[in-house]
């Protein structure tokens, strides 16, 4: 555990600094509010009303998120494998090639179906 | 071998009838029925009175469950087989035109299902493996279901469903007991369903009682007995009379047959333990059936309920455990078959003429159709147990046995005879005598074909009424054996 305590120290310092500056910004500095200023910025025009029923995000972002998850998982498996590769040698290689190939099948499918194309 | 043939003939017949063009279907069907009749007689000739189980054949069916395809007949089985093979052709002839009546599913289907039913019933009466028995026991329901649901009066669909549910319920309860028997035999180290093996087991008291309950409920529903008889009247009312004959005169016999075969044969101790209850139920059935019958307005319902009363007698006879009782019961099974068949068929002809089954709307038939009225009278008197007609003999035997058992039982049974005479004669009076119905076409009398159909039944009634010995000769040895298994010595068969 004591390997991690220093991180805690650094984290505390950093957090302290961040919080401090956020508060500072609130305290210091003039406060001359008006309605227009508090509107969300839209090039000076009247900001658009927010609908009930949910903000909506292009579906592409979901696809990206899913793909990210998939590959992140792959990476999770690759790291320990890489670190202890020397012990597994050929066996490790073959198994991982099979694994990567399998993931690649899905990857190919997504690619072909335009899952990777942004427009 | 002959028994397998006996079962296969109608089965094949059913399939053939189902596929041949409708024009010839009835002839084909009848042909197969006749062939079966012949086979049945052949089997009877090969049967040696008093040798116990005969014509046996045994093949392994499901090895890992110890199930066999095992057939054989003893006195009881033989009589039932003969009753079946005789009645089926008669029913077919009687239903020759009826099945084609509008709203029915056509003669072709009727004949096919009838043959199927015959095949299954024959299998039931000859099976000597409990599971085989159970299988065909349930299998009889399918043709019966389609016979009831497919032919007859409006509302038959409901009746058919009710019938099937009752029977299935009984069957499944029995299944529990069947499995129970199997488990017992398995624990005994030799898992088998063969009756011969099972009879050899000695099952402890409580287990016996549980198993007995299972079997008895199933057979009571089948037979029918009070309080699980309610499907009977509905069914006989809605179905065609032909179907009713098949049901009441053949199928229901499986109930009493089963009681003799399994309750007494396999679970004698439990049977004696249950005797008081069963006898009470039997007496209730006798009286209740008779009383309700009196109140009926629908002829077919009435006849159905009379057989409730009769089955009461049969069960009574079985469970008083005396040679008289048993012999009487078995004899009764045959006679009742004949008599009730006669009643149903006549009633069927009657209804076809009057166009109604309501007693209230009938009357004065005897003037227009004396022959019909005559048959009807004979049938009714037979049901009432008039001396000289075969049911009398069996009834007497049962009542004697009842008195031997306990005077109360006997006297209640006697009371039933009075009631029977009453409903029979009163029904006759209301339908046949009295003023003619207002504004109705005069009832045509029976034609030659119909007389030809009824005649053999009538003859049988008279013959066995005066000379029941051939039947008794077949019966007594069986009774001797079965009573011996219950542990009651033989004190001379009835003369």
């Amino acid at each position: 555990m004591e390997l991690y305590t220093p991180i805690l120290a650094l984290a505390l310092i950093a957090t302290g600094f961040a919080v401090f500056s956020v508060i500072m910004s609130a305290v210091v500095g003039p406060k001359r509010y008006n309605r227009a200023k508090l509107d969300s910025y839209e090039c000076g025009i009247e900001p658009t009303p927010q609908p009930v029923g949910g903000g909506r995000i292009p579906v592409k972002y979901f696809i990206t998120a899913m793909l990210f998850i998939v590959f992140d998982i792959e990476i999770i498996f690759l790291y320990p494998w890489a670190v202890h590769f020397d012990q597994m040698a050929l066996f490790g290689l073959v198994e991982m090639v099979l694994f990567i190939a399998t993931v690649f099948v899905a990857y190919a499918y997504v690619w072909r179906r335009g899952g990777l194309d942004w427009d | 071998m002959i028994l397998t043939v006996l079962i296969l003939l109608p089965l094949v017949g059913a399939l053939v009838t189902a596929v041949v063009p409708a024009a010839v279907a009835r002839l084909v069907g009848l042909g197969f029925a006749a062939a079966t009749l012949v086979a049945g007689i052949v089997a009877a000739t090969q049967y040696h009175v008093g040798d116990g189980m005969q014509l046996t054949e045994t093949y392994t069916w499901i090895d890992s469950l110890g199930v066999h395809y095992a057939l054989g007949v003893d006195g009881l089985g033989l009589l039932m087989v003969l009753l079946t093979v005789v009645l089926v052709p008669i029913v077919m002839l009687a239903g020759w035109h009826e099945a084609d009546a509008p709203g029915n599913n056509g003669a072709k289907a009727f004949f096919a299902w009838t043959l199927g039913l015959e095949a299954m019933s024959l299998a039931v009466f000859t099976a000597t493996d409990v599971l085989l028995f159970y299988v065909v026991f349930e299998a009889t329901l399918i043709p019966a279901y389609f016979l009831i649901g497919g032919f007859g009066r409006a509302g038959r669909g409901r009746a058919a469903t009710k019938f099937l549910i009752y029977q299935l319920a009984g069957g499944l309860i029995m299944l529990a007991s069947v499995i129970g028997l199997y488990v017992v035999s398995a624990d005994a180290g030799n898992p088998s369903f063969l009756i011969s093996d099972l009879a050899a087991l000695d099952i402890d008291e409580t287990t016996q009682r549980w198993l007995f309950v299972g079997f008895f409920i199933a057979f009571a529903i089948k037979a029918p007995m009070f309080p699980v008889h309610t499907w009977l009247a509905d069914t006989t009312e809605k179905a065609t009379t032909g179907t009713s004959v098949l049901l009441v005169c053949i199928l229901d016999k499986i109930g009493t047959f089963g009681m003799l075969r399994f309750c007494l044969g396999l679970l004698p101790d439990a049977s004696q333990w249950a005797t008081p209850v069963v006898i009470v139920l039997a007496l209730i059935s006798i009286i209740y059936g008779a009383l309700v019958a009196i109140g009926q307005d629908d002829v077919l319902r009435l006849i159905g309920l009379t057989s409730l009363s009769h089955f009461g007698f049969i069960v009574l006879g079985i469970f008083v455990f005396s040679s008289n009782g048993s012999s009487g019961a078995i004899l009764y099974m045959v006679n009742h078959g004949i008599a009730t068949a006669l009643m149903f068929l006549v009633a069927g002809f009657l209804i076809r003429r009057t166009g109604t089954a309501s007693i209230r709307e009938m009357g004065g038939v005897e003037k227009a159709a004396p022959v019909l009225a005559g048959f009807f009278l004979v049938g009714g008197l037979a049901a009432a147990g008039l001396p000289g007609l075969s049911p009398f003999v069996s009834e007497m035997l049962v009542i004697i046995a009842a008195f031997d058992h306990h005077w109360v039982v006997g006297s209640v049974a006697v009371l039933a005879i009075v009631l029977a005479a009453f409903y029979a004669l009163w029904m006759y009076q209301r339908t046949m005598t009295g003023p003619d119905r207002v504004g109705a076409a005069p009832v045509v009398d029976l034609d030659r074909r119909e007389v030809g159909i009824l005649a053999p039944l009538l003859l049988a009634l008279l013959l066995f009424g005066f000379y029941p010995m051939p039947l008794l000769d077949v019966i007594n040895p069986f009774v001797h054996d079965s009573l011996a298994s219950v542990g009651i010595g033989q004190e001379g068969g009835p003369q």
């Binding site: 029923g53 949910g54 979901f62 998850i69 998939v70 992140d72 998982i73 999770i76 | -």
Partner: protein
Amino acid sequence: MTQYIVLSAILFTIGCVGVLTRRNAIVVFMCIELMLNACNLAFVAFARQHGNLDGQITAFFVMVVAAAEVVIGLAIIMTIFRTRRSASVDDASLLKY
């Protein structure tokens, strides 16, 4: 060690309750993920307790499964939204009895 187990139990319960009470399909779904992660925590904690790696390996696989579930779940839920304009599981009521 027990603290971890207790924590995981609490997390699991929260997720469980969430699934049963929340009405927004996405939220329900997130609660399910929470349950899975509670399981992970328990696995790792037990692995530490028993001093073998089975639990940690399991955690890996659970992550994979969770990922797969996310992908499939989002796909299904999206289709429903686009049809129904609503994420409420109460609106999904065509099928009953």
